[in-house]
Symmetry: C2
Subunit: 600 residues, 2 copies
Amino acid sequence: MQNAFCKKPLWEASIALADVAMGRAPAELVIRDARLVNVCTREIVEHTDVAVAEGRVALVGDAAHCVGESTTVIEANGAYIAPGFLDGHMHIESSMMTVGNYARAVVPHGTVGVYADPHEICNVFGKKGVELLIEDSLRAPLKAMVTVPSCVPAVPGFEDAGAEITSADVREMMAWERVVGLGEMMNFPGVFMGDAEVHAKIAETLQAGKCPTGHFSMPDGGNMLQAYIASGVRCCHESTTARDALAKMRMGMYAMLREGSAWHDLHEASGALKEINDSRYCVLISDDTHPDTLLELGHMDHILRRAVAEGIDPISALQMVTVNCAQCFGMDGELGSIAPGKCADIVFFEGELSDFRVAKVLIDGELVAENGCLINLIEDFNYPDWARESMKLSPVTARSFGVAAPAGQSGSVKARVIEVIPNRVANIERFFELAVQDGQVQADAARDVQKAFVFERHNQTGTVGFGFIAGFGIRRGAVAQTVAHDAHNLLVAGVSDGDMALAANTLIACGGGLCVALDGQVLALVPLPVAGLISACGAQELSGQVKALDAAWKALGCGINSPYMTFALTSLACLPALRITNRGLVDCRTFEMVGLFLAD
Amino acid sequence: MQNAFCKKPLWEASIALADVAMGRAPAELVIRDARLVNVCTREIVEHTDVAVAEGRVALVGDAAHCVGESTTVIEANGAYIAPGFLDGHMHIESSMMTVGNYARAVVPHGTVGVYADPHEICNVFGKKGVELLIEDSLRAPLKAMVTVPSCVPAVPGFEDAGAEITSADVREMMAWERVVGLGEMMNFPGVFMGDAEVHAKIAETLQAGKCPTGHFSMPDGGNMLQAYIASGVRCCHESTTARDALAKMRMGMYAMLREGSAWHDLHEASGALKEINDSRYCVLISDDTHPDTLLELGHMDHILRRAVAEGIDPISALQMVTVNCAQCFGMDGELGSIAPGKCADIVFFEGELSDFRVAKVLIDGELVAENGCLINLIEDFNYPDWARESMKLSPVTARSFGVAAPAGQSGSVKARVIEVIPNRVANIERFFELAVQDGQVQADAARDVQKAFVFERHNQTGTVGFGFIAGFGIRRGAVAQTVAHDAHNLLVAGVSDGDMALAANTLIACGGGLCVALDGQVLALVPLPVAGLISACGAQELSGQVKALDAAWKALGCGINSPYMTFALTSLACLPALRITNRGLVDCRTFEMVGLFLAD
């Protein structure tokens, strides 16, 4: 299974590697005189050569005898080299880029492999969506190791996604050669409550010899966490406290410490490492990185710098993005170290190790990036037409955004309102007295209360959920987006019914994306035509579009950073406290549908 | 695959484990108030309970809510507990015991699993021999995880074993559920020279997702070791120096440091650990332990004590027989730590941790040993009749041991002689001028030169190799044994042709074993009726027999410790310098058959 990600399976390369190591045949490539960061023994080994053939390391040590006329020699001149970085948990779609564009952005930063859970596109297109991402990934040097989305839809019974993944689907997909595990099992209550279908998904993964990955987001999991780990789930990236990360590592679960664009867990969670004497069960991951972060800060190289800033020594930090991650997925025979037989996935640093300034990147023995740029063009994958036709919705009108007051109610009505907390995942359930005019409940810009609508866009069910949100500061206009976790229906909010209709129709027309409208004008638009999630643009252009979007949100009165991300969680019905889906309001503490209005 | 060694696959147990962890169902067993040696984080965790169900750990922490009326509670009262010990490389046959008797001897010492390479019995009976050992193992609580013998015969073309294992056999056997890898690939020259059939055996193992294990015995392997590791061989137990063990760990190969009955590598090789900062690639193994060692010193508990005596801290040492070993074999999801979901294989210590005094042993959640004894009887496996009929030889006579002088040679002749070095694996090629009487070359007791004969005993080829050995101090009588690595033909030596015939015929009559004869009497006999390798007796009785054998060797004049072991290597044609097989003398430096006599 693992060999799908290498130039050639080891068993087809081993004789050639022996020939090179023994000097019977020249290496294809020799790196001369490097400072090897040995992640197996956690030490620096000076004056090390590396000989490469067939995409793999043939020899580590003195490679003078491996150099022939045809050998490419890279003089390291004492520069540090380390295994290429692995991102142990992320979603490529969350970058809003194609795999090709994502690879262009991250490979120059030293990332050679990602463990990708394509559950965003899977919520839209099901298995076919996962296949699309895989096909896209085949053109890029980046190793996209796929985990099968485990929770599609995220909260069954409370929303309508474009597809459903059953345990039978998991069984089928485990046989795909690019699949290395099960994606984050977010239904942790299903695990600790003993739900048969949930356990069946993990079972199919274990029986296939692949890695069930986790998502357990209660900070003091106690017995629930114990039950969750006992199911065979091998890792979890949801630790926000040192205590929680410590509990996981002590139970032999890989604690994947997250430091992405949106969630910064490293400062708190890395405290766990001060308590223990062995960090092999610790991994650093992104989950996720957006284009602007990639451009401004980097990818795993940035996370490594953050780890060092938190007091983790540089070599241990490197272990956390190489050998530890490979061991988590049972792929350490292929990836995660610079050693004979392993894939020649190697980064060169310039300057001090602790700066993690990536100068060169080799994948499968090929120099793929240098000085921050990819060397070879990646052929773009042409997503098929059907992948650009995910907006199965007819245009709406201003009248579509009317909220009828309960029969007989006039003057005002007491409504249940979702109040967001800037830059936090959780939100708060509030109650507002809202004005009723002509039988319609009104938004209240003065008190920062907007209407919010979720239109099912996948299967033409015609279902629409609606309610009110607060806390974004939107005083005028409207916003809309199809990035709306996890079902990715069309999410619209605002204080102007006309602008809401304009923003929604703009996205219906362009195949989805992110939009801001004001006074009958589209202020900003990030088109995401593939599945309503993925742009055709690269990081630079996309980052510009997102900045324009941020500015447009600001023009509406919103002061939150990256508000589209917080907005996108408004519909994620597995996070506390109150969410809105195409079926209506969900109390995510009790998992019940709740009414919008309260009787006095 | 791994689940063959557990009471129940995790995917069949996970819901029951969740029920117990959550307190919805009582645990079958709860260990209360232990000091947990946490091998995941290398620390001691005080006041820890462990709840067990379905043979697996359901919870580690506070298990008060898991105790019901039906729950067995073991009060640890602050005693240390640790994961059960794994022996990462050994051969059960080398204990001369059945798997049942071996388990009786080692389990009370804390050993819960062994990675067994059954290449001794495989040399006699081929695949059927391996199947026999597996069938025997099914009755014992010990987890016998089998690696497919990779080198049967050990030195093709220079000896005749009872069977041959090809790459096609390896492919077939990799599908067996008890098989976890490929046995020690002793043909390391075949690997670094690029032999296709040798690489094919490793390839079959890798394609099956199992673990190729190694044996690379050149202390400064250089490029040869690099080529060997590049093949995918994952571990090696042949490091006798710190430098060699260090080279292996630096290249991501598990260095299995050996401390068995015969070879004591720990003192030298453990020096490697002082050079590095991460010992995850270090494993402690026995390869092998004989009955008297088991009785007098112990098994892995003894090796742990030796490790601590060499300066390794006790928790790191425990990692080397638990989690590190399990990770080597890709079985850390099942074995090697006390964590939710893992097999409940647990040892209790009494007293200080660094004494490793094992008080209780649990395997799959069952208390199987206490105070040095197994708790339940193991049903003996009845080896079939054919397994007791491996001596396919007709009786010999004193005349069978004549060594004809070269035609026309009288007086004396210059002979090539194997001189053993006590307690060392290597030997020396010597040349002696030996007397000729009546056309027959004579042994020379005064100069410590004996005749040595190897009779093929498996396939009635009638082939006999012969020559002379020195260094054993045998001044009279004869010795014979069917433990004669690796082909296990009938090996006979002595200075009396009559006693040689008596010793040989005694073994032919009893189905094989170890024998000493003097002046027409059998002085000592260790019958090994199964395959000529395995006794029907347990450790206690067998140890008594072996001590009597040692005494008998002494009576012949031999001053070497455990001489039968050194003698058994006389025929192992992959060790330097000179060996004798059923085909004659082999120069093991050049791999050539060589003549017994030298022209002047």
